[in-house]
């Protein structure tokens, strides 16, 4: 019965995501359905699917916010949520390729938001309070990536698109002027609803042997 539910969910998503493929069965996926609830019950507003085991460290396969509920920050919420799951798994993640046009925009906005916030604070203070780097030098691959569970390549391409990577004095630097960052952050729009990590009760999926 669960399988039929998953399949129906995919059919529904296909109606709104033209590029979505239904090639493979739902058995190898997990579905996270976001709902608003009121006194009439829970109402689905969006969902995202995730591979149970991903070889390419994909932490999200398909994502959809139902049209009536779009532009409320649910999409970015779901993206942030998917990264929170990755953090719980102690893995970096990235959305499944190829990204749709809208998907790319949403993701870029999310990453800009996250990385911008991180860079605004210096010395680099992580949300949980650890000091990451004293010298104002950061290794995008390990530090930023570990902090955010965002794949390093995604961070760097985002920074590049924001033109925050500049070449000075013979090396690449991250230009993190607070004013510039602020301007970018405003441009990306609201960050979406925030994920309250304290409310997240979740264990990574393990195959039953």
């Amino acid at each position: 019965m669960n399988k039929v539910y998953g399949q129906n969910l995919c059919y529904l998503a296909k109606l709104f995501l033209d590029h979505k493929t239904l090639y493979y069965d739902v058995d190898l996926f997990l579905f996270y359905v976001l709902c608003e609830y009121d006194d009439r019950g829970c109402h689905m507003v969006g969902y995202f699917s995730k591979e149970k085991h991903s070889e390419e460290s994909y932490n999200l396969a398909c994502i959809l916010t139902l049209p009536p509920y779009q532009r409320k920050g649910y999409g970015k919420f779901l993206i942030a949520f998917s990264y929170e799951l990755s953090k719980k798994e102690c893995k970096v993640g990235t959305p499944e390729r190829p990204l749709s046009g809208l998907g790319l925009l949403s993701y870029r906005g999310c990453v800009e938001n996250v990385v911008g916030c991180v860079l605004c604070n210096s010395p680099l203070l992580c949300p949980n309070g650890n000091l990451c780097s004293c010298l104002g030098v950061v290794n995008a691959y390990t530090e930023l990536s570990d902090m955010t569970a965002i794949k390093a390549e995604d961070i760097l391409t985002t920074l590049q698109s924001l033109e925050l990577i500049q070449y000075r004095k013979g090396q690449d630097v991250i230009y993190a002027n607070p004013k510039v960052l602020d301007r970018h952050l405003k441009a990306t729009g609201r960050g979406g609803l925030e994920v309250d990590v304290s409310k997240l009760i979740w264990t990574p999926y393990k195959e039953q042997s």
Binding site: M1, N2, K3, V4, Q7, C10, L22, Y23, Y24, D25, V26, D27, L28, Y37, D38, D39, R40, G41, C42, H53, E55, P67, L119, S122, L135, G136, V137, V138, N139, A140, Y141, A152, E153, L156, Q160, E163, I165, Q166, Y167, R168, K169, Q171, D172, V173, I174, Y175, A176, N177, P178, K206, E207, S209
Partner: protein
């Protein structure tokens, strides 16, 4: 340098990048970088393009965005009354599936509804829920029939036939309290629909398309957890009956191999022991041979020599196979392979000699075990002085000392060698015996550590 800076530079993700907070850090570099120049250019370009594109876009897009329509459902208030409370516990999925029970998994589609409307003709012959229930039950019964016939396929490769007959269906669904005519109509509709679809109409019972099917309209192919060859994770290792049976078989094979190898080791050890026995036996025989000759010389001088001209040393050499076959002490004539033509003549006297020999051996306690039929080492027959003397072979004369020092008399203890040659072995000065006379070649073996349980 400015030229180089235009070239897009790939970023090394492993490198540490300094974070620069203010423009002042860039003071020493007067010329603007390519990045900013590029971005300036991009902005200019965008600005040019935008005013052209936008007005067109807005004009075109506005009429094309469809507005979704909606229908107010009559039963909305009833179905979704304001009585929901968020439960504090998680909602779990439903448990065991009810087959022919309460829950009907089938939902009428447009086709079914149209048919029902047609059939009812405003007379309300059949309720939608009833039709739903009947179609569901027909599907399940047909699935069971196909299961019993053993024709269930894991993937959809060929059209799936209907096996459920009208009579079987009626019999199974007697409890449904439905008129025969109505049931007949429903059955025929269902069967016709199945034949059109060529597969079950209940989704749960539809086998998935095969993996190699390329038709994009066939969806939800089963996917195996493929390409895990390079990982050795726990999740990949299967733990099912098949692999258990395989492991069991492996264990049986290994046990058998162990038993075989143990038996092999025992056999080889026995072989080695047999060989050692034979070697020590031959050494002892050699020893006995010498000593009996010695004793013979001392105790029984008058007896005719054993080594008669009728027999050569070969005659007394027995075939080891005969020994191995452990023949009884038969007459030598029956056992020996006479190598010389004239030995037949000498058989009888040799035999008697042998018997005497044997008797003589019995007189000397520890020698009596010697079996004259047992193999004697070749070329160990002691010399007989008289016989040699008869052939004009005499030991050197005992030339006494010129100086008065008494040299010990010669003691010769030679033996008959190959072809009648006289052989003198080296003399052991300590033991006053020929070298290797009492020594044996036998080297006691070091105790072998046990290498298996």
């Amino acid at each position: 340098m400015s030229r180089l800076s235009f070239r897009p530079r790939p970023l090394d993700i492993h490198k540490k990048l300094p974070i620069v907070k203010s423009v002042k850090d860039f003071e020493d570099d007067d010329t603007p970088t390519s990045a900013t120049r590029n971005s300036q250019m991009l902005r200019l370009a965008a600005a040019e393009v935008e005013p052209e594109v936008q007005p067109l876009a807005t004009k075109k897009l506005a009429p094309e965005i469809p507005t979704p329509q909606f229908v107010v459902v009559d039963t909305y208030e009833r179905d979704y009354s304001r009585t929901f409370f968020q439960p504090t516990s998680y909602l779990r999925a439903r448990g065991a599936r009810a087959e022919i029970g309460e829950f009907v998994e089938y939902d009428l589609d447009n086709e079914d509804e149209d048919w029902l409307q047609d059939y009812n003709k405003d007379k309300k012959i059949l309720a939608p829920e009833k039709l739903e229930s009947l179609l569901f039950k027909l599907e399940v019964l047909d699935h069971k029939a196909r299961e019993r016939a053993g024709v269930i396929t894991p993937t959809l490769v060929s059209p799936i036939p209907v096996l459920l007959t009208m009579d079987a269906a009626i019999e199974a669904l007697q409890s449904q309290s439905i008129k025969y005519g109505v049931f007949q109509a429903v059955y025929n509709y269902w069967k016709e629909k199945r034949e059109r679809w060529q597969k079950p109409i209940l989704r749960r019972l539809q086998p998935p398309p095969p993996v190699n099917d390329n038709n994009p309209y066939n969806v939800f192919r089963p996917r195996e957890k493929a390409h895990r060859l390079h990982t050795r994770r726990m999740q990949r290792r299967e733990n099912n009956v098949q692999s258990f049976e395989k492991l069991r078989q492996v264990r049986r094979n290994l046990d058998q191999a162990k038993t075989l190898l143990e038996a092999l080791i025992k056999r080889e050890e026995k072989k080695r022991d047999v060989l050692e026995c034979e070697v020590s036996l031959q050494r002892i025989q050699m020893k006995y041979k010498h000593e009996t000759e010695l004793l013979e010389d001392i105790t029984l001088p008058g007896f005719p020599p054993i080594s008669s001209k009728f027999a050569s040393s070969e005659d007394e050499f027995m075939d080891s196979d005969d020994l191995a076959n452990s023949r009884p002490r038969a007459r030598p004539a029956a056992v020996q392979n006479p190598p010389l033509t004239d030995s037949n003549v000498g058989m009888a006297p040799t035999a008697s000699v042998k018997q005497e020999f044997r008797r003589r051996h019995l007189l000397h306690g520890w020698l009596h075990k010697l079996d004259p039929l047992e193999p004697v080492l070749l070329f160990t027959k002691p010399l007989v002085p008289d016989k040699l003397a008869a052939a004009n072979i005499v030991p050197p004369s005992d030339t006494s000392t010129k100086n008065g020092a008494s040299t010990p008399p010669y003691k010769f203890h030679g033996r008959m060698g190959r072809g009648g040659r006289i052989v003198f072995d080296r003399w052991n000065p300590l033991m006053h015996t020929p070298i290797d006379y009492s020594n044996s070649f036998y080297i006691p073996r070091k105790p072998r550590p046990s290498t298996y349980n």
